[in-house]
């Protein structure tokens, strides 16, 4: 019997310097789940800048880069 494995995606959060593994869903839903405020990040996929309504897949390399710096 085949066991169904829920597709997971790994994302990197620069602000906290950590990787999170989540079930595959839209970027907006991921950000909501991780409590990431969209005004505080830019998002890259495989090193290319994308917007939060871009479609993503399991093999993607998603990074949330913090826009806050300085002080």
């Amino acid at each position: 019997m085949k066991i169904y494995k829920e597709p997971k995606i790994k994302v990197y959060i620069e602000k906290t310097d950590e990787y999170k593994e989540l079930s595959l869903k839209s970027l907006k839903e991921i950000m909501k789940e991780l409590k990431i405020n969209p005004t505080t990040v830019i998002i890259t996929n495989n090193g290319e800048l994308i917007t939060e309504d871009a479609e993503i897949k399991i093999s993607d390399d998603i990074c949330f880069l913090s826009v806050i710096s300085g002080g």
Partner: protein
């Protein structure tokens, strides 16, 4: 969703207007808006000798890059000025990036350190000083920027303050009932021109932090230096989070705050134009509102006498 003009994948989306832009269109939009701000407020004029207050962070590097790229007027002189506060594992890294950037772009860079100018680095000061780090650091940094700009013969200091920085300051002055301080703000600082004050101008005034970060990323100017380690508990950091939450729910809030502020700014300037005359510090000759400037008080009480806290 694709770019409004090119029909290709976008890199930035303005939710309020439902418009997305690709890399090329976003860069064009960003540069046009910054240059428009400069034209509208006459931030840089013929024969200006300007210094860009740079740190190696994204904001100041972006404005350094834009000014160095787009100012074609040969009568305008441009150089960079940086302050090394002495924050381990933070400022040393960003200054290294800045040095390389300036060398590559043939920009003269002047670096001044707290250690050399005041006798102690910020890290050393904070071993004994238990007040808010940003208060003392801000006073000392502004002091050095003004003093060193004058020594360099600069007539205008360009800073990388963006829409987020400015909306935070406006909000902070409202909530602390310090509107008098707001009267000196805007794309050009100061109520009146004073020989001892170097005028500060802010070409990124209408660009959000997210827009500046996007531009920096696309131009390869984004550095991986996180927030200042001393910034976490500051009042500004809390206001920043609050405004970001508001912006996420009601996009355009920061813009609205700044637009309404600019509408009342002439009234504030008029109201506070007759403030007490600017004095000269008895110790250092820098401009101040009292007999001795805040920087000299900090140097005397905190740096030399190791006071745990001071009430200026």
């Amino acid at each position: 969703m694709v770019c409004k003009f090119c029909n290709i994948n976008p890199v930035f989306r303005f939710n309020s207007s439902n418009i997305s832009l690709c890399k090329k269109c976003f860069i064009k939009y960003f540069e046009r808006k910054v240059l428009k701000t400069m034209r509208l407020y006459k931030l840089v004029k013929k024969n200006d000798n300007i210094a860009i207050a740079a740190s190696g962070g994204k904001d100041s590097t972006v404005i350094l890059y834009i000014l160095n790229t787009f100012i074609k007027d040969r009568t305008v002189k441009l150089q960079a000025i940086a302050i090394d506060e002495g924050i381990h594992d933070y400022r040393n890294k960003s200054l290294e990036f800045l040095k390389n950037f300036c060398k590559k772009n043939n920009i003269k860079l002047n670096i001044y350190s707290y250690k050399k100018e005041f006798g102690k680095s910020l890290d050393e000061i904070l071993k004994t000083y238990k007040g808010i780090p940003c208060s003392i650091c801000g006073v000392l940094r502004r002091y050095l920027l003004n003093k060193k700009s004058k020594e360099l013969g600069v007539n205008k200091l360009v800073t990388g303050h963006n829409l987020d920085d400015e909306s935070q300051s406006v909000f902070m002055n409202y909530s602390r009932n310090t509107l008098k301080l707001s009267s000196r703000m805007g794309p050009i600082t100061g109520i009146k021109i004073h020989k001892n004050f170097i005028q500060r101008v802010k070409p990124l005034y209408f660009m959000s932090e997210k827009e500046v970060t996007t531009y920096a990323f696309l131009k390869g100017l984004l550095t991986k230096f996180s927030e200042c380690p001393n910034d976490t508990d500051s009042y500004r950091a809390q206001v920043r989070d609050l405004l970001n939450d508001l912006e996420a729910k009601y996009e355009g809030s920061k813009n609205g705050l700044i637009s309404s502020f600019l509408e009342i700014l002439p009234l504030l300037k008029e109201k506070y134009k007759s403030l007490p005359e600017i004095k000269t510090c008895k110790v250092c000759d820098e401009p101040c509102s009292q007999e001795i400037c805040q920087a000299c008080k900090y140097v005397e009480e905190v740096i030399k006498n190791n006071k745990v806290n001071v009430n200026l």
